[in-house]
Symmetry: C2
Amino acid sequence: MKNAEVLKKIKDQLHNGGYKLTPQREATVLVLLQDQKTHMSAEEVYMKVKEKSSDIGLATVYRTLEILTDLKIVDKVTFTDGLARYDLRKEGAKHFHHHLLCIECGKIEEVEDDLLSGVEKIVEEKYHFLVKDHRLTFHGICSSCQKKHSQEDSEKLSKLHDVIE
Amino acid sequence: MKNAEVLKKIKDQLHNGGYKLTPQREATVLVLLQDQKTHMSAEEVYMKVKEKSSDIGLATVYRTLEILTDLKIVDKVTFTDGLARYDLRKEGAKHFHHHLLCIECGKIEEVEDDLLSGVEKIVEEKYHFLVKDHRLTFHGICSSCQKKHSQEDSEKLSKLHDVIE
DNA sequence: GTAATTGCAAATTCTTTGCACGGTC
DNA sequence: GACCGTGCAAAGAATTTGCAATTAC
């Protein structure tokens, strides 16, 4: 689905929710659309909107993000740093996607696969809990940090060889 | 494992980490031990410690909770309200347990089952991400809120019957 | 026209920090 | 007596709110 279509759809959702379509709200949605992988904080969204010439206040960004969260157009996530970040929901995604948070470099990768349907079934049956959504984040070491490690290791090893030789 | 034993173990961990065992730290750990299901915020821990006669400053609670988090004795979690909460790690648990957060009454239930080992394998193989820990929270409706609903429904239905009769 | 929305600044909330004092080995 | 830990109060960071001016429909 193209960005223009997605934007159109979001506009409709705002209307249906009884909200007006202001330039500030449109600019905010556009920024979220163009930068879907970065998990921006409110401050970052605010900066990006200002960059694009559109003038906006930080409070308006917070208010807009809250509306979008209520309408389930974006999801609010908080990782270990305690800062709220905002993620556009993927088109047609029933559930929130998952995250891989690297504890070394801080990078956040996204996982779109639906990994939890089996797990949800267990939760519903065993705990009689009606699952509506979920938040899943893995903490660990990303592939590039792993490579960095093995490189360091082999360097140490070759130094060791130098000493022995 | 008994609380006394767990406390002893935590004392050792503090010592090994090069930290002293002050009355304030001991009181904080005791509060966490006695109230394992409530997911207390720093403020709540502070209040509980004060209740138990032990005098303590809020800053000390924050500092103690940070140490305990670093030592992986407690886990810091942030749910949707953005407030940091602290959970004692279960004895011998490799991984953090999961949570069921009711979107109606706000109650948080814990799930101890290891539901994710299969999912972690997929993540490691497909994304080459070395998993160290995870955070999983389901958002939904708890069993008692579900019951409340069906009760309301049957009440409405019986009123409807009254009208018809 | 009018009710919703905005921007600003002030207020709030949660958390961290600086520093003088007190306790411990 | 050096050093770690504490309490307090002040600072800081993130977010929310009150209000007068402005705007979308």
